[in-house]
Every structure is written in structure tokens, then in C-alpha cells.
């Protein structure tokens, strides 16, 4: 009886802790599958510039992007596939994070960084929480990273404890068995088929 009480509590409190992350997962997954228009708006764009005294050297492009990002006190990941020097020697790169996208151009001639900042709307930020882990220079996101990790563990435990609670109970035994075992086999066979057949 004590064990059942403990498992019920784990199921309840774990579920309550993960309530919002489950909502984020549900809404964002639906968006990934359907690309809702409210999650695709380009967002407001503002432009600004800031003097920045950097010397051209032999550092790799990723290091240069990170140096510029840190000097501008911005948060995000530099995208290496959107990094280049143009024909006039201006260095361009994109910095991405859940709430903003920065298109940054740095000139070694006038030591100036020109930034085009694209602000994402609420739904884009909400959807990006699906897989948002640690974001460089955004310390608060570490809490979210741990929350997402906690949710994964708690949902797996909740599934197992939920099945256990049903197993030791008396209701819906026969129909539950058929549905559970049937769906487990069907899903595994289906995944095997997709892997082998394409």
C-alpha cells in the first residue's frame, strides 16, 4: 500500500512539475507538423551599430563570431553555415537564439559592427522552448535546460508508474491489456518497417 501511495505521488507531483513543458511540447510539435502562420511571422526588425575595436588575425571564423558576440554582449549561437567575408572584406555572420536572430556585419576598416536584429514573436519563442537548452550568454536558460531534462525523466517514470498503478488496480484490465500490448507491438513493427523499407 505504501508503495502504491509513493508511486501515485511520483505520478502526480512529477506530472504537475512537467505540466507546462508538456504544453510546450504539444503545441510546438503540432507547429512543426503544420507550420501554423502565427509561428512563421517574420517579426519586427531593428538596425543598430556599435564601434568595436578588433584586430584581424588568424583565429577561426567561429572564434571571431564568438568574440564579436561577446563584445556586443549578445546571447546566441553563431551559425557557421551563414558565415563569410564579402568582397570588401566585411565579415558577416548570423547569430541565432530562441527570441532573436541577428545578422551581423563587422568591418575591420572602420571598426564598426552593424547589426540587423529580427525579433521573434511570442509564439516563435514559445515553440523554440521545445528544444532550447543552454544558450551562450543567457544564464537564465540553464534553468530551462534542467527543466527539460527533468521532464524527460519524469515523463518516462510517469509512463512506467502509470502502467504500474493500472496493473495493480482492478479496473479496465482486459481491454487495457489488449490496447497496451497491441499498440506496443504495432508501433515497434511499424518502426522496424520504416527503418528497413523506408
Amino acid at each position: 500500500m505504501h508503495m502504491r501511495r509513493l508511486l501515485v505521488n511520483i505520478h502526480y507531483f512529477g506530472g504537475l512539475a512537467c505540466f507546462w513543458y508538456l504544453i510546450v511540447l504539444g503545441v510546438s510539435s503540432l507547429h512543426f507538423n503544420h507550420r501554423f502562420s502565427f509561428g512563421e511571422d517574420p517579426g519586427d526588425t531593428i538596425q543598430w551599430s556599435r564601434p568595436l575595436h578588433l584586430q584581424p588575425n588568424d583565429t577561426a571564423r567561429q572564434d571571431l563570431s564568438e568574440t564579436i558576440r561577446d563584445s556586443l554582449a549578445l546571447a546566441g549561437w553563431p551559425l557557421f553555415w551563414e558565415t563569410r567575408f564579402d568582397s570588401t572584406g566585411v565579415y558577416h555572420f548570423t547569430l541565432e537564439q530562441p527570441a532573436r536572430r541577428y545578422l551581423i556585419a563587422y568591418s575591420f576598416n572602420d571598426y564598426n559592427a552593424r547589426i540587423t536584429e529580427i525579433r521573434k514573436n511570442f509564439w516563435q519563442v514559445f515553440v523554440s522552448l521545445h528544444g532550447a537548452g543552454e544558450v551562450p550568454n543567457a544564464p537564465v536558460m540553464t534553468v530551462w535546460m534542467w527543466y527539460s531534462r527533468l521532464t524527460i525523466v519524469v515523463v518516462l517514470i510517469s509512463l512506467i508508474t502509470g502502467i504500474y498503478i493500472w496493473m495493480i488496480g482492478k479496473r479496465d484490465k482486459k481491454s487495457g491489456n489488449i490496447v497496451l500490448i497491441g499498440s506496443l507491438f504495432a508501433t515497434l513493427l511499424w518502426m522496424a518497417f520504416m527503418y528497413l523499407h523506408g
Partner: protein, 193 residues
């Protein structure tokens, strides 16, 4: 009556989607800890095949259809166009096939890459979108059901907790704490990051 209906909804939707949801959380775990579970290609093959007629490649859809029929390429595909070259990427969990077609050359250059088990897990986790044939439509449908079930589990779970317990203080504190975490994260991202 409502309680029993919601309890059954919670139970059976959980059972129907148990393996599917389990897959998403196990593969999500592997993706979060990618440093430990690294993706690698374990097999790579390159082949060339003649394209019988330029008419076949008059459109990307026609080319994709021909490749699927003649070479048995399965999965979802997307197109990448560079100047005159067309590259088609066919993807199904664990395997990526890249087909490159160039102008004035009646040969398709094909690269088939098979990944390790972690690549396979990434492939299943990222598989979505109503494209690629019946199998993939059905997968996307179950993907939608799983997404909806996340919301259903959260809401029905909240209801069941509220109905079955009389001491709600601890649960309310847990719920409010994590509501605050979510709200602070969104406000921080939108206004302070």
C-alpha cells in the same frame, strides 16, 4: 461520470500512444545528451546511374518520382538547387540518400549514407510533415496524436489530481513554481536576452 470518462481518456490515450511517446522521450534524451551519444555514419556508398531522358528531369517532382520508382528510394525528400545543379535528399530514419543531377550530364550521382543507432534515433525524433507516401502520412498523423496527447495528459492529469486529493497545498506549490519557471523564461527571452 465526468471523472470516469476523463480517467478512461487519460488511460487509453496513454496506452495507444505509449510506445510512440516513449520513443520520443527516449530519443529526446539521446538528443539532449548528444555529446555522449554521438551520431556517426557507419556505411557510405556511392553509385552512378544513367538517366534515360532529359524529359524525366523536366521537373523535380518528375525526377523524384522516377528515382523512387526505378531505384526504390523511399522516405521523404526535399530539393536543394545550386545554379543549374539539382540535389534531392531522400530521408528515412537511419538512411540519407543524396542524388545529384547536373545539366548536360545524363547521369545521376548517388550517395547513400547509413547512420549508427543514434542517427536512427534522431531520424525518428525529427520525422514529421505530411509528405512521402501513406506510411509517412500515417506517421505524421500519429505524431499529431502524440502532440495532442501531451496537452490532453497535462490537462486531464491536472483534473484527476484535483479530484482525487483533498490536500492540495503541496501540489499547488509545485505547479505554481514551475509555472513561474516557464513565465520567467519566456519574459527573459522576449525582453532581456
Amino acid at each position: 461520470m465526468i471523472y470516469h470518462t476523463i480517467r478512461r481518456l487519460h488511460l487509453y490515450s496513454g496506452f495507444v500512444l505509449a510506445a510512440f511517446i516513449m520513443m520520443y522521450f527516449v530519443t529526446g534524451f539521446v538528443m539532449i545528451f548528444e555529446d555522449r551519444f554521438q551520431r556517426k555514419d557507419v556505411e557510405e556508398r556511392e553509385i552512378r546511374t544513367p538517366i534515360p531522358s532529359r524529359a524525366v528531369v523536366s521537373s523535380t517532382d518528375a525526377l523524384a518520382g522516377w528515382l523512387q520508382q526505378e531505384l526504390g528510394l523511399g522516405g521523404q525528400w526535399y530539393e536543394e538547387r545550386r545554379k543549374n545543379d539539382v540535389t534531392l535528399h531522400f530521408r528515412h530514419p537511419g538512411t540519407v540518400t543524396t542524388v545529384r543531377v547536373m545539366p548536360n550530364i545524363d547521369t545521376a550521382f548517388i550517395t547513400i549514407k547509413k547512420g549508427n543507432v543514434y542517427s536512427l534515433m534522431h531520424g525518428f525524433h525529427r520525422l514529421h510533415g505530411y509528405q512521402g507516401g501513406v506510411n509517412y502520412y500515417l506517421w505524421s498523423f500519429f505524431y499529431d496524436l502524440s502532440a495532442l496527447s501531451m496537452i490532453v495528459f497535462a490537462v486531464t492529469g491536472l483534473y484527476l489530481w484535483w479530484k482525487t486529493t483533498s490536500k492540495r497545498l503541496a501540489g499547488t506549490l509545485v505547479l505554481l513554481s514551475f509555472t513561474a519557471v516557464t513565465a520567467v523564461t519566456i519574459i527573459y527571452l522576449m525582453f532581456y536576452s
